[in-house]
C-alpha cells in the first residue's frame, strides 16, 4: 500500500529531565500506511520520543497530533484509546496472567472495547497471526525471549491501533529469531499498517522502512529514505562516534 495523508505529526517537541535535554526540538510527520524508522546511537533520545508519543512522558515543549487532534496533553490511556499502540524496549508482560489473558488485556480497553467471548476469540486470532496461538494457556514464565516479544506485540495488535510504535522490537534476538522477527514485521507492513519503529538492525531498516528519521543527542540530524540517510556524512559520524554502531 502506498503512503497517503499525514496521520501522526510531531512538531518542535522537546523533553527535559531536570537539566538534561533528552529530546530537542524534534519534528517529523508519519503518513498513513507508512513505516518510519527512528534510528540513532544509544542515548540519543529515541525511546524518550516514543514515550512522548504514547503519553508515558509529557513533552516539555511542542505538540504531537494524531489526525490533527492534539494528543500530547493527554494521559496514556486516552492516547491508547485514540488509536496509538506500543511495545516497550524491555518487554513488559503481565506475569500473573496467561498468554491469552495478556493479549486480551489489549483488546478489552481499546477503542473497540471487546469483552467476553468476543475478546477471547479476537485474542486467539491475533496470537495466531504472530504464531503463538499454541501457547495461549501457557504461563508467561515459560516463554522464551522472542515468544515474550511476540506476545507483547500481539497484545498491542489486539488494541487495533492505527499507529503502532515498536521500540527496538528486534533487539536481543538470535540470528534465527531475528529472521522470524523481520518476517513478522514485514507482514505488518504488507497489511498496510502505520508503524514507527526504533531499530538498530541495519538490514531490517533497509528492507522495512519507507523513511528514516535520524537522532543524535536528542536532535534530528537527518531524514529521508534509508539509503539517503545511511550515506549521509553527519549520520555516519554520529554512528562512528558511538561504540554501538
Amino acid at each position: 500500500m502506498k503512503p497517503s495523508g499525514t496521520i501522526l505529526s510531531v512538531k518542535n517537541v522537546t523533553k527535559r529531565f531536570g537539566g538534561l535535554v533528552a529530546v530537542s526540538n524534534m519534528s517529523f510527520d508519519v503518513a498513513q500506511h507508512e513505516m518510519v524508522g527512528v534510528i540513532g546511537p544509544n542515548g540519543s533520545g529515541k525511546t524518550t520520543m516514543i514515550n512522548m508519543i504514547s503519553g508515558a512522558h509529557k513533552p516539555s515543549d511542542g505538540r504531537i497530533a494524531l489526525r490533527g487532534r492534539l494528543i500530547s496533553d493527554q494521559q496514556p490511556q486516552n492516547i491508547a484509546r485514540a488509536g496509538i499502540g506500543r511495545t516497550f524496549q524491555l518487554v513488559r508482560l503481565l506475569p500473573d496472567l496467561t498468554v491469552l489473558e495478556n493479549v486480551m488485556a489489549g483488546a478489552v480497553y481499546g477503542h473497540r472495547r471487546r469483552w467476553g467471548r468476543d475478546a477471547e476469540d479476537f485474542a486467539h486470532d491475533v496470537l495466531e497471526r504472530v504464531g503463538m496461538d499454541a501457547m495461549s494457556d501457557a504461563p508467561i514464565s515459560s516463554l522464551t525471549y522472542i515468544d515474550q516479544k511476540r506476545v507483547e506485540l500481539a497484545r498491542t495488535l489486539a488494541g487495533e491501533p492505527e499507529v503502532l510504535l515498536l521500540d527496538e522490537w528486534l533487539a536481543g534476538l538470535n540470528p534465527t529469531e531475528l529472521e522470524t522477527g523481520i518476517e513478522l514485521i514485514h507482514a505488518l507492513r504488507d497489511e498496510g499498517r502505520t508503524v514507527v519503529l526504533v531499530e538498530h538492525v541495519m538490514d531490517a531498516i533497509r528492507s522495512l522502512c519507507d523513511r528514516c528519521v535520524v537522532m543524535s543527542s536528542g536532535a534530528k540530524i537527518a531524514e529521508g529514505t534509508p539509503e539517503e540517510v545511511l550515506s549521509d556524512k553527519e549520520v555516519v559520524r554520529a554512528y562512528l562516534g558511538d561504540d554501538d554502531a
Binding site: S54, G55, A56, Q75, P76, Q77, A80, R81, G85, R86, F88, R92, L93, L94, P95, D96, L97, E101, M104, A105, G106, V108, Y109, G110, H111, R113, W115, R155, G159
Partner: protein, 310 residues
C-alpha cells in the same frame, strides 16, 4: 485475584445459609466470637477487593470503621437519629472519605501508600478525639438499641455476603480484569487504555463504604463509644494480617484466615492475657516464611498436586 466462577457462588449461598443458624446453636460466648468473626470477614473481604488485585496495602480500615461507629454514636446520642438513617449516612461518609483518600494517594506506590493510609487513619482518630473533647462536651457516646448479638451477627453476615457477591461480580467484569492488569504493571495498564486512577478509586471507595457499614453495625454492641476505641489502629493491622494469612489472591481467602486467627487470638488472650500481641508478630512471621500466598496458596497447591496425581 482470579476470575471467580459459578461454582464458587453456589458454595457461598450454602455456607451463608448454614452460618445463619449459628446463633441458634451456641451459647453467648461463642455467639460473641461469631460476631467478631463476621465483622472481620466482612472487613477483610472488602479489603481484599482492593488490595488483592492491586497489591496496595491499606492500613486505613480503622478510619472507615471508626467513621461508621462514630456517626451512629453521635447521631443516636446527640441528635436522636434512628440507627438505620445513621447506617446509611455512615456508608455515604465512608465512601466519600475513601474516594478522597484514593484521589490523594493515587501517585503514591508501595510503602508510601501504606504509611500514608496509616498516618491518615491516626490523624482522623486524633481529630475526632479533639473535636469531641473540645466542642462536643462529653467524651463518650451512648448507643442504645434493642439489638441483640444475634441481630448484629445476622446483619454482619448479610454485609459479608453482600461484599462477597459484589466482589464476585467485579471479578468477572472489565473492572476486575483491569485491576489484575494494574496489579501486574500499571504502565502497561495505562497503555492498553485503562483509566487506572478511576479503577483504583472505585474499588477503594467500596472498601470505605463497607468499612463504615461494619463500624456502624457493630456500634450498638458497645453501648458506650469513644473515638480512641472505634478508630483503634489495631483493627487495621488485624484486617491486613487476617487477609494475608488467608490469602489475598482469592475472594474467599479472608474467610480461611479470619477463623483460625481469631480462635487462636481468643485462646491466647484468655490464657496469657499479656502475651496476645505476640500472636500478631507470630502471624506475621508465619505469613512471610511459610504462607506467602496465605492458606489459599497452600490449598491451591495441594489441589494442583492431587489433580496431577489422579
Amino acid at each position: 485475584m482470579k476470575r471467580a466462577n459459578w461454582q464458587e457462588l453456589i458454595w457461598v449461598v450454602i455456607i451463608v445459609a448454614l452460618a445463619a443458624f449459628w446463633p441458634m446453636m451456641v451459647n453467648g460466648y461463642w455467639l460473641g466470637i461469631g460476631v467478631d468473626m463476621m465483622m472481620y470477614i466482612a472487613l477483610a473481604t472488602s479489603w481484599v477487593l482492593f488490595s488483592g488485585p492491586t497489591h496496595y496495602i491499606s492500613l486505613a480500615s480503622a478510619a472507615f470503621f471508626g467513621v461508621g461507629g462514630f456517626i451512629v454514636g453521635t447521631g443516636m446520642s446527640d441528635y436522636d437519629a434512628s440507627f438505620w438513617s445513621m447506617l446509611a449516612l455512615s456508608a455515604l461518609v465512608g465512601g466519600v472519605l475513601a474516594a478522597l483518600i484514593g484521589l490523594a494517594t493515587l501517585r503514591l506506590s508501595g510503602v508510601y501508600f501504606v504509611i500514608f493510609t496509616l498516618g491518615l487513619a491516626e490523624m482522623i482518630r486524633n481529630l475526632v478525639s479533639w473535636v469531641q473533647n473540645n466542642f462536643l462536651g462529653s467524651r463518650g457516646l451512648y448507643v442504645l438499641t434493642d439489638f441483640t448479638d444475634t441481630h448484629l451477627y445476622w446483619m454482619l453476615l448479610a454485609t459479608a455476603a453482600a461484599v462477597y457477591v459484589l466482589g464476585w461480580i467485579i471479578s468477572r467484569s472489565r473492572l476486575g480484569f483491569a485491576l489484575r492488569i494494574i496489579g501486574g504493571d500499571e504502565t502497561v495498564a495505562r497503555h492498553v487504555g485503562i483509566n487506572t486512577a478511576m479503577a483504583k478509586v472505585i474499588l477503594f471507595t467500596t472498601t470505605g463504604i463497607f468499612g463504615a457499614i461494619v463500624g456502624a453495625i457493630i456500634a450498638p454492641r458497645w453501648s458506650y463509644i469513644e473515638p480512641n476505641q472505634v478508630f483503634s489502629p489495631q483493627l487495621s493491622f488485624f484486617v491486613v494480617i487476617m487477609a494475608l494469612l488467608g490469602g489475598s489472591g482469592r475472594l474467599w481467602g479472608p474467610v480461611v484466615g479470619v477463623i483460625p486467627f481469631l480462635l487462636i487470638w481468643n485462646w491466647v488472650d484468655a490464657n496469657f492475657p499479656h502475651q496476645s500481641i505476640l500472636v500478631l508478630g507470630l502471624a506475621f512471621l508465619v505469613i512471610v516464611y511459610f504462607l506467602p500466598h496465605g492458606f489459599v496458596g497452600r490449598i491451591e497447591q495441594l489441589r494442583a498436586h492431587l489433580r496431577s496425581r489422579s
